[in-house]
Symmetry: C2
DNA sequence: CTGAAAGCGCTAACAG
DNA sequence: CTGTTAGCGCTTTCAG
């Protein structure tokens, strides 16, 4: 066993000729201590290389300033972007980010059970489902949970999501306005609330407008599955002339297949639309029309919720953030996009 | 202030009619306790929803089982892949991953100074430089440092890197074998050891083979900068017919520019080669020839180092992991690749 | 095998 | 403003 010997507040106290609690005060922002002794202590501390042990501090005030973050699958750039923003936002809020891997599926990995043993200020689940046993464990451990890009019927957990209803409806309207005849939908993971909401709203809007029910394939929010799904669609005799993929990752897979395997002119012979508006969507290689989920705002809301829940664990709420349909080359252009922009934003960005 | 009340070992002890230390033993793997009382304690603990407080435990045994990970920029998919693998690998090793954002530059964010106050078992820096002050702080805090995809002259820090020398030489040989006339290099971040090593080896090999010195532009491992660099290169009257980009992210930016802005047939009119072999490189949209850095092996080595350093902080070592040149469509094909494969692996993978 | 007791390093009243 | 005194929740001798 490695025996690391650390400099403690006692050592500093002895060196500075003060009590150990004086050392503590010297390192506590608003504590009452004379500038003189404080300076002396800080000098001694610096010489000895002293750093207050945050574990001990957390043990006392009962909170660790640590937020647990469970991430399922970083293959989706939307979550990468989110991680990036979240780590900075938490940092700015003085919170540490304890990361743990989770299955994208409904249940989280066993390790989360252990992670809960830290006195987490909150637990954020990025597109990871909350199993009922995990919810129960968090309740017991008194760790507030924030679901990101996911919702649950459980009333006691907070969530931050984009407006999947409006997003899917706007995309449906966009495709109808483009006079597409055979529309298809490539679905995300079956159990996910994002897919459930997008799919329901998409199908409902089309039905409501008197359009035929779209074709449907499963893509599981996964490149390989979406690739296979696209192949199935494009091999059909009644090949669709428009595909709405439940996220950008799958849409990019679909573009790859349509263009490189079937030689289709994406944007003319077939329209492909995604969801999330990941940075890659703007690349000329894809120029993907996509409904944006503003990660920056969603992260800001997440941190806001965490700060509230830290002080009042029962103040759970659900936040819905607006998005925008980013019109790009992968979908057939329409004369007047704003004609169907009754409920949401639509933008025609210039390529980067 | 929110006052969360937690179940402690005392509560369980009272409920089970044993001493508090018995409760501790019940939760300590190899402790001497009768199966009978152990079972009784576990039952009581379960009923009360008791979880041992890991902060208190860490306070005693002096180690937190937490590894700090500093990440500069997740725009590069290589680091995303690494993060994914690393979080799982650490999890399997029973270690927690405390993430903090860092500048890609030489110095890490201020927050790292605070993160060091936890009793970290180790600190991993993903392609983030180690400033001398940070190194000094880690030494004082007795936190062993592992540099990932980076080296430093500092003898007291460990590192895990790919073989940049061989990689760059292999790429140079590949381009020469393809009879390219005007070769260019788009460099990564100036201060980074990866760029320094790749650039030096690339230039040295070309010179050694009697080839003219390549053109050179700065790409800073950044999409926007690499895009601009490529434009500068392709606008020249003596446009290069081959570009080696110091990583895949920049190579993909270069492909985008060459193909969509200059209408070039990448792989015939111009060869573009990257470094890292990120998953995207295999997509048909890019089909990027690239020298692989096997993230899986590099992560495994990193975790191995951490486990060693946990017990012996002075056991620093530098690990170099082999890569493979993945030949794809973005570079002019060569009759017999193995002809110049004197020092490394070369593969011609099938597209996914 | 078990309980009592002594801390891990720090903060937070409490007197002075 | 400062030192003293209790602990935070747990592990770990040390007796029994």
């Amino acid at each position: 066993m490695n025996d690391r010997i650390f400099v403690t507040a006692h050592d500093v106290a002895r060196a500075a000729g003060v009590s150990q609690s004086a050392v503590s005060r010297a390192f506590t922002p608003g504590a009452s201590i004379s500038p003189d002794t404080r300076a002396r202590i800080l000098t001694a501390a610096d010489q000895l290389g002293y750093r207050p042990n945050l574990l001990a501090r957390s043990l006392i005030n009962g909170r660790s300033n640590i937020v647990g973050v469970g991430v399922g699958n970083l293959a989706n750039p939307f979550f990468v972007e989110t991680m990036q923003l979240l780590s900075r936002a938490l940092d700015d809020a003085g919170l540490r980010l304890l990361l743990f891997p989770a299955d994208s599926g409904a249940t989280a990995e066993p390790s989360i059970h252990e992670i809960l043993h830290y006195r987490l200020d909150a637990l954020v689940l990025l597109s990871v489902g909350l199993s009922s046993t995990l919810a129960e464990e968090c309740r017991r451990a008194q760790v507030p949970v924030v679901l990101y890009n996911r919702t649950t019927l459980d009333d006691a957990t907070s969530s931050v999501i984009g407006d999947n209803q409006i997003g899917a409806r706007t995309i449906a309207a966009h495709l109808l306005a483009g006079r597409h005849q055979r529309i298809a939908y490539i679905a995300g993971t079956a159990g996910s609330s994002t897919n459930a909401q997008r799919e329901a709203a998409f199908f409902a809007y089309l039905a409501q407008q008197g359009a035929p029910a779209p074709l449907r394939e499963d893509g599981h929010y996964d490149i390989a599955a979406a690739t296979a799904a696209t192949r199935r669609l494009l091999t059909r005799p009644d090949r669709p002339d428009a595909i709405f993929c439940a996220n950008d990752l799958m849409a990019i897979a679909a573009i790859n297949v349509a263009r490189h395997e079937y030689g289709l002119d994406v944007g003319r012979e077939i329209s492909i639309v995604g969801y999330d508006d990941v940075p890659m969507a703007a690349w000329p290689a894809f120029s993907l029309t996509s409904y944006s989920q503003p990660a920056e705002q969603m992260v800001a809301q997440t941190v806001r919720l965490i700060r509230i829940l830290r002080d009042d664990p029962d103040a759970h709420q659900d936040v819905i953030v607006d998005g925008t349909l980013m019109l790009r080359g992968s979908s057939r252009s329409v004369a007047n996009p704003s004609a169907y922009a009754t409920t949401t934003n639509i933008a025609t960005p210039r390529p980067d």
